[in-house]
Each structure stands twice: as structure tokens, then as C-alpha cells.
């Protein structure tokens, strides 16, 4: 009501008759205007505190209703489709939580942040993600990620022990084994990383008993290793399929869990 009074009294003239005893220093309307400004800012601060101190609700896919469009929610579940990064820079993956499945989308910033942190979700991972719901009739309900920091990732546990029956000496791997799945152990001699934009694989050169073998893998395995490659000198166990490329024998690894640092080689 004070604010309204201010509006009404802002047209006062000098010759306006004084009602009641004249005070020494009449209050300027401008002061009340600034007071209202302080009040507005205070209200905004309180609303801010109210908002950021509330827990973002954790909901299930089956709970989503059309009136929840634009709602900021948390969802947890298992990734059912590897994160795919579009050429435009955005990313998409699916999660299921037992009650249903939902597509999670992120923008270029989120995709880059997740990629840099080696946190691009893969099938089987368990995640909890915060985002804004996009619900529309006849279309897929989506969860739009707000920030990469709001994604909690638990990687799928993969087999850590190589299958014993396929284990052979590194020096024994020849072109004759082409197409076979084998496990070898050797000391990491060198690491070759593909250049930016290159489609070439990562190459770990293992050595044992005077022989060398190139162990190759691509970006998805590198992501699976959380973008951390072992240091030369480490004893590495690698499981993969034997291949031949330009007359050289190599071992192709397809799963991050098939590469394991066993112990220090030196």
C-alpha cells in the first residue's frame, strides 16, 4: 500500500494545502521509491534462496505427466544406448529405470564437458542426471541436461580377469592366429595416440620375450578407460582378436575391460 501511496502523491504541487501539522523535513517520495526497490531485490534474493535450497525431485519415467513439461527433475537408471555425439555437437543417450525408458539430450557444451572428462555414458552404466523435462503429445518425452556436472556416472563393471584358456605367449602370436580371440601379457613399450580428427586407432606396443605386438583400439575403448592410458613400462594384459594389417600382426581390443594393468613391469 505504501507503494500505491507513493504513486498517488507523486503529483503534489508546492501550493498543495498541508493536512495536519507540517513536519520539519518532509519525506521525499524518491526515498520510498528506493525503499520499494530494496524490497523487490530482497524478494528476489529470498526466492533465490528458496529455490536453490530445495532438493531437485528424483522421479521415475512412469511418473512423467504432460503438466511436468519444463520441470527440473533428477532421474536415475541404466544407460540402454551409448551416448552419441552429433555433428552439430549435441549428444543423446537413453536410460531406463524399471518403470520406463527416456531419452536424455545435451547440448554442445555438455557433450564437450563429458567427453573431456571421459564421462560419456555407455550402455550398462548407471547414471543419475538432472535436467529439464520436455513433454509433448505424440513425441518422445525427453530430459534435457542442464549441465555435465549434474551427471553422476557409475561405470558398468567389466570382467577384470582375462579368460585363462585363451592366454598365449606374446611371442607366439602369428598371422596364423588371425581371427582368434587371445589374451597376451607384455610390457608396454610405447603409446601412439591418433591426431585430432584422425580415424586412426590408438596403438599400445607390448613387448615380451624379445617380441613385440601392436595392441590397437579406437575412441570408444579410450573413453571406456576414462581417457587414461597406461604409462610405458607397465605390465599389461590385453584380450582381443588377432588381425593382420599391412603384413603386420596386431591385436584388436574392443572393450575397455579387456585392457588391464597387471603390475609394474620394471
Amino acid at each position: 500500500m505504501i507503494l500505491l501511496f507513493v504513486v498517488l502523491s507523486s503529483n503534489n504541487r508546492k501550493d498543495y494545502p498541508v493536512y495536519g501539522p507540517q513536519v520539519k523535513r518532509p519525506l521525499r517520495v524518491r526515498v520510498l521509491q528506493y525503499a520499494s526497490l530494496v524490497l523487490g531485490v530482497a524478494g528476489l534474493v529470498l526466492l533465490y534462496l528458496f529455490s536453490v535450497n530445495r532438493d531437485i525431485p528424483l522421479i521415475r519415467v512412469s511418473d512423467v505427466t504432460p503438466t511436468m513439461n519444463f520441470a527440473t527433475v533428477r532421474m536415475a537408471g541404466e544407460v540402454t544406448r551409448d551416448a552419441y555425439v552429433f555433428q552439430s555437437g549435441g549428444l543423446v543417450f537413453d536410460i531406463k529405470d524399471g518403470s520406463g525408458e527416456i531419452t536424455v539430450m545435451g547440448g554442445r557444451a555438455q557433450a564437450q564437458a563429458l567427453e573431456a572428462a571421459g564421462k560419456l555414458p555407455r550402455r550398462g552404466d548407471r547414471i543419475e542426471v538432472t535436467g529439464s523435462l520436455s513433454v509433448s503429445a505424440d513425441q518422445l518425452t525427453k530430459l534435457r541436461m542442464q549441465s555435465a556436472d549434474q551427471l553422476i556416472l557409475n561405470r558398468k563393471r567389466t570382467a577384470t580377469v582375462p579368460v585363462a584358456e585363451n592366454r598365449i605367449r606374446l611371442a607366439d602370436v602369428t598371422a596364423a592366429h588371425k581371427g582368434e580371440q587371445v589374451t597376451v601379457v607384455g610390457t608396454l613399450k610405447s603409446v601412439d595416440i591418433p591426431g585430432p580428427g584422425s580415424k586412426a586407432p590408438y596403438v599400445l606396443t607390448l613387448a615380451a620375450d624379445g617380441a613385440e605386438l601392436a595392441v590397437i583400439f579406437w575412441e570408444d575403448v579410450f573413453q571406456g578407460l576414462d581417457k587414461k592410458l597406461p604409462m610405458p613400462g607397465k605390465l599389461i594384459s590385453a584380450r582381443g582378436r588377432v588381425g593382420v594389417y599391412q603384413d603386420a600382426v596386431q591385436l584388436k581390443v574392443w572393450e575397455a575391460g579387456d585392457l588391464r594393468v597387471m603390475e609394474s613391469g620394471k
Binding site: L4, G40, L47, S51, I56, N69, T72, Q139, Q146
Partner: protein, 442 residues
């Protein structure tokens, strides 16, 4: 077909009564209607799209034409009609409120003609191309618009008196208040976009309490306390306009409204402002009519974009609400939408004259301050029903911000920072860092 026509008429007639209530926005009512439809759905019933879509289009079209009446006679515009108030009030204060309202209504009729006969036939072919071309540029265009809005605020004091700090502050109080309003509205927008306090079950209306607080409540409050006496009003059979003025207003308003409908978060008010500057129309009648054109092209045109085959663009609150329960797929949907707009536009304009006369009579019987208070009560009740106590809290804070331009004499358009700032930041890829800086991503 008869069912669809009946639904359009029902929506238009309902819009007649809603439009008379100052400050009440049609999107608020559509939100309530959507809630009703969802509850029907929950109960195993489903309303036919052939009924709900024409009804909703009737609501939007009817309201966008007929809400001219309160903006001229009761001085209560929505955010897209802010600029019509001053000239409209002039007409009211010289006893020609009817003529003022009818002139803006004529502009609205031009807007419907533009939509149905010009935009309608060509939009499916050209708009998808225009969208493809403009899409990568939306973010910087939005920043240019923001800059234009802020830079065209002009100082209203500091002209007289000795030089010094007091003169400096006097000059900057309006500009500063405008900037502060934009900034505070923008912060509120970030809060609502990233950590909306509204219950998630009603999140589809989480921006509504803010809009009500920023635009509707300040006007209703001002009207309620205003001491202005409205002089006797005259009703005439002719309007002091001709084909030339109509054409000029159609071009200016069509550009402004079209721009606002196509670009995200740009409202009819901003579109009108840009078009007014771009076409430099000085005649007050052209200005008023162009605002009528702009308003209809913005509200109804934005909704039409949602139905254009090959585009299916979601622009404006109406399209977002409809998207929750129906997604158009076919040319049939487009023809239904165009037909509904044409029918509703025609009926609305026919109702414009009797409704304006009726409102004038009502103002003679009931003090217009009481109408504003009644409307204020309805708006607050609507916010409470849809968003609860939290919504009222947001509305109160937004009212505090919305009153700043009123108290300091700056432009109310600055309140649109609530959408412009966060969306422009998001489109430029800096929304997340800003939200993180504000602590909204914790």
C-alpha cells in the same frame, strides 16, 4: 465440420468475456483449460482434437483482437499492447475511446487478413527455408534486439537545473531503473528456467506467475488506485482512417508482428517497437492500427506456425500449451487452423463494436477501478489454483520488479528480460556458466 465451427465460436465467445477483464492473459486461461483436458485424459476420457484445437485457436484469436477494449478503455494492456496505451488513453480522455478501440480493431482485422490470405498460402513453402537460413543467427539477433531495447530507453529528467550529481542522478534514474528492471527480471528468468520453485506437477506453467506479476498486477493496482475521471464518451459511425492509413499500418504491424511471432521470446510489444522504428510511421492512427495488426499477427501467427506443414514451429505460450496434448501432422491440421483463425477473426471483429459499447455502458454503471479490482482477484485466484502458494510468492516478487518501471517512469518492456536474458544466454551457449555462477546448478 459443424463441430469444429461450433468449437471456434465457443472459444471466441469465451474470449470476448475474458478480454474485457483487464490484465487477464489468455495463456493463463489456456493453461487452466489444458489442466482440464489432462484431467479428462486421466479419467479415461479424451476430447477430440477437432474440437479442442479450434476452441483454443478461437480463444487466442478472439482475445488478441478484443483485448484492445480494456487496453484503451481501462488502460490495462498485456506485454504486447503496452505501446497502444498512451495514444489509446488520449482518445479516451477526449471522449473518443470507442473510435480509438475500433481503429486498433481495424488494424487487428488487417492482421487476420494478412494471416489468412498472405502468410497462410505462402508460409508452408517459404518459412521452412527462412528458418533454415536464420536458425544459426538467432542468438546474435536476439542480443541486438536486447541492445536496441536498452539503448532506446531515454532519460526523462536532468534537463534543467545546475550541473552536478543531483542532475546526473535525475537523468540516470529512469535509465538506471530500466537497466535494473531488465537485469532483475533476467535473474528471475534464470531462476525460473533452471530451478523453478513451482511444483513439478504444474511446471508447464512455471513462468506464468512471473508474467502476471511483471505485467498484469502493476496495471491492475495502478488502475485500482488511479484518480482519473473518464470523460463522457462518444460513439461514432465512421472512423477517421482511409485505405492508405490501413495499408501503412498493415505493413508496419505485419513486419513487427511477424518478426515477433517467428523469433523466440520476442513478443508483439518488441516487434511493434522495432517495426515502428523501422518504418518510421509518425501518424498516431497508423501507429495505433499497426499495433493492432502486430498484436494479432504475433499471437495468432505464432500459433499458426505450430500447424505449418514442414515447419511445426513451437512459438508462443499458446503453442507450447497445445503441444502438451496435441501435435499437428497433416495439411488437414493446417487448414483447420487457418479456417479457425478466419472464422474467429471475423466473429471477433463483429463483436468488437457491441462489446466496446457495452464496456462503455458498464463503465458508466460500475466504477472501472472496481472492474480492475475484480480482475485482480480473478488473476490472483488463477495463479493460486494453477501454481499454489509458491506461485503467489513468485508473483509477489515479480510484482515488486514490475512496479519499478511504473515508479521510476522507465519502460515496462524491460520486464521482458525475464525471458530475453536467459534465452539469449542459452542460445549463445553461455546460459550454463551463468546459471552455475548464480549457484543454480548445485
Amino acid at each position: 465440420m459443424i463441430l469444429a465451427a461450433a468449437a471456434v465460436l465457443a472459444g471466441t465467445v469465451l474470449a470476448c468475456f475474458l478480454a474485457i477483464l483487464p490484465g487477464l492473459h489468455i495463456y493463463n486461461v489456456m493453461g487452466l483449460a489444458a489442466l482440464f483436458l489432462y484431467s479428462l485424459h486421466g479419467g479415461g476420457l479424451a476430447a477430440m482434437p477437432e474440437v479442442t484445437i479450434p476452441f483454443m485457436i478461437g480463444l487466442v484469436t478472439g482475445w488478441s483482437i478484443l483485448n484492445t477494449i480494456p487496453s484503451v478503455l481501462l488502460g490495462a494492456p498485456d506485454e504486447s499492447a503496452i505501446f497502444t496505451v498512451l495514444p489509446g488513453q488520449k482518445y479516451l480522455m477526449i471522449g473518443r475511446g470507442y473510435e480509438g478501440a475500433m481503429m486498433i480493431g481495424a488494424g487487428s482485422l488487417i492482421g487476420v487478413f494478412l494471416l489468412v490470405f498472405l502468410i497462410g498460402p505462402f508460409a508452408p513453402k517459404y518459412l521452412p527455408v527462412i528458418r533454415y537460413v536464420l536458425n544459426p543467427h538467432m542468438h546474435w539477433i536476439l542480443w541486438v534486439i536486447i541492445t536496441f531495447i536498452l539503448m532506446t530507453e531515454w532519460p526523462k529528467g536532468g534537463n534543467r537545473g545546475p550541473a552536478g550529481w543531483s542532475k546526473f542522478f535525475d537523468a540516470w534514474s529512469t535509465l538506471g531503473a530500466g537497466l535494473l528492471t531488465f537485469f532483475l527480471s533476467g535473474l528471475l528468468g534464470f531462476l525460473l528456467l533452471y530451478r523453478a520453485p513451482v511444483d513439478i506437477h504444474n511446471a508447464f506453467q512455471n513462468i506464468m506467475p512471473a508474467f502476471v506479476g511483471l505485467f498484469a498486477i502493476p496495471w491492475c493496482l495502478l488502475n485500482a488506485v488511479s484518480g482519473t475521471e473518464v470523460p463522457e464518451q462518444y460513439v461514432c459511425d465512421t472512423l477517421n482512417i482511409n485505405g492508405d492509413l490501413l495499408l501503412r499500418s498493415g505493413i508496419a504491424g505485419g513486419i513487427g508482428g511477424g518478426f515477433a511471432a517467428f523469433f523466440p521470446v520476442v513478443t508483439g510489444g518488441i516487434g511493434g517497437l522495432l517495426a515502428g522504428h523501422a518504418t518510421a510511421q509518425r501518424d498516431e492512427r497508423v501507429f495505433m492500427m499497426s499495433q493492432g495488426v502486430s498484436k494479432v499477427v504475433y499471437y495468432t501467427g505464432a500459433l499458426l506456425l505450430f500447424f505449418i506443414p514442414g515447419l511445426f514451429f513451437t512459438r508462443g505460450g499458446g503453442a507450447w500449451i497445445i503441444k502438451g496434448f496435441y501435435t499437428p501432422h497433416t495439411w488437414g491440421d493446417y487448414y483447420l487452423a487457418l479456417g479457425s483463425i478466419a472464422l474467429s477473426g471475423a466473429v471477433s471483429f463483429l463483436l468488437m463494436s457491441p462489446l466496446t459499447k457495452w464496456t462503455l455502458k458498464l463503465m458508466n454503471v460500475v466504477d472501472y477501478r472496481h472492474i480492475s479490482i475484480f480482475s485482480l482477484g480473478i488473476i490472483i485466484a488463477l495463479v493460486f489454483v494453477i501454481t499454489g502458494w509458491v506461485g503467489l510468492f513468485i508473483m509477489t516478487v515479480a510484482t515488486g520488479i514490475g512496479l519499478l518501471p511504473v515508479l521510476f517512469g522507465s519502460r515496462r518492456l524491460n520486464c521482458l528480460g525475464v525471458l530475453l536474458l536467459p534465452i539469449a544466454c542459452n542460445m549463445s551457449g553461455v546460459g550454463e556458466p551463468v546459471a552455475a555462477f548464480l549457484g543454480l546448478l548445485k
